[in-house]
């Protein structure tokens, strides 16, 4: 196992709601009231039109696998190669994540496969959204 201190993200005022949501088991994204754009990562204005009229909303949690690598460079707590992925949410935004409940192989990780969000307690303050194959684990 690779050694070292476990990395933990630190929320800012603009992202606190996202991390609070993750702790409750909700994946939160944002939507602009003026142009309807869904966006991520969190910020208190729309990156499409600049409007401050934006709201936080719960994402459906459905996504597809957009792209990934299988890292052989291991971090603390990791013993085997694992996928670092970008998924595309049903609402449109993309986010980086890991794919869990699935073999970490090119044969099992097929681009555009359907996924659903799941949550992993990272430490006392942070819960990380991750994704797993939709409709249960593949063998």
């Amino acid at each position: 196992m690779a050694k070292g201190k476990k990395f933990s993200p630190v929320p800012t005022p603009e992202t606190q709601h996202y991390w609070d949501g993750a702790k409750r088991g909700e994946l939160l994204i944002q939507q602009c009231d003026d142009c309807s754009t869904h966006y991520f990562p969190p910020r208190p204005f729309c990156p499409n039109c600049g409007s401050r009229n934006v709201k936080v909303k719960k994402a459906s949690g459905k996504a597809t696998l957009y792209s990934y690598v299988i890292s052989h460079m291991l971090r603390p707590g990791q013993e085997d190669p694992f996928a670092i992925a970008v998924v595309e949410l049903e609402e449109g935004p993309r986010m980086m994540t890991n794919i869990v409940d699935c073999p970490q192989t090119p044969e099992a990780l097929l681009l555009d496969m359907p996924l659903e969000v799941t949550f992993e307690e990272w430490d006392e303050t942070i819960t990380l959204p991750k994704f797993k194959p939709a409709g249960g684990a593949t063998s």
Binding site: V10, S67, S71, I84
Partner: protein, 381 residues
Amino acid sequence: MKPKSIAIVGAAETTKLGVVPEMSELMLHADAALNAMADAGLGPSDIDGVATAGPWPTDVAHYLGITPSWVDGTMVGGCSFMLHVRHAAAAINEGLCNTVLVTHGESGRSRVGARGFGGGGATSLVGQFEQPYGIMGPTTMFTIPALRYCKEYDVGIEKLANVAVVQREWAHQNPRASLQDLTSLDEVMNARMIAWPFTKPMCCLVTDGGGALILTRADRARDFPQKPTYILGTGESVETPLVSQMEDFTTSRAFRVSGQKAFAESGVSHADVDHLMIYDAFAHLPIYGLEDLGFCERGEGADFIWERNTAPGGKLPVNTNGGGLSYMHSGMYGMYALQEGVRQIRGVAPAQISDVKISVVHGVGGMFGASGTIILGNEAP
């Protein structure tokens, strides 16, 4: 000569490249700067502008004994030096200074007096939304878009690997290259896996070195000992610090914006280009560069390289020093791409292409986060 033309009148790398533990990072800047000043026949008192990335311009100016009237510390990663060239040209034309020194030095391998790698820590967007998922530097970030590209354009992984094979052919002709032995597709495909589908030879080297450039008005350029290298066009842009938020994983917006600016400013057509440098931190970058700069249609870059158009003897020689994959890569490689462009224009490159009139040098910073493009010519515009 067009008014407001600018030329590179001094260019040099550090005396040694590769493993240089006897020099601190700041000394690598100075070693390259002293070599570039010697190349131009100038001393520190002749320089009145300083641009650098990594250390502050203050550090470099003080260390070299320069009293600048203009500085630029733009830091957007490995293409920062392309942006420095562009900004220096504008500053000289505005009368802010006359003779600009651009320096790079990085103890990427030996880490002597080295600064930490960037990133904003645990509160940055990368720290919050990418770092927790296990990224370990560029090898696990810059590489992520490639698989999407391969699916969209039905490109096999062997065509990514082939980029490393072809570039080694150029390095084979370069005695200063870190890796000079020819390699094969089998060797590259079966090498140690770093981040599937990228094996070690598909990822850049980590080495020590530096480079420096000296720029001035083109109407002064003939007074210097070396053949001038003229700046015909320049471009720059940035997109995002988060590779996961790149607009389209199959093409770089920053590449397109920067490239279009440079070509428009120069009036050069793609058919006029004799030589091309595309910053290759990883094997997919020359493919994106060829397409986003307009040398190939979307989806055709990998085949263009596969068909040996960019290889020795090909119609568009690319990364003729061996590139970041085989020549050297200190961390911010853009300076070495510029140096090779100047060498090809001067006619003194180890793998010299005959009769290079126009060279395009294209850089990337961050993980597709920034871009700078410089078009060089051997005749005054």
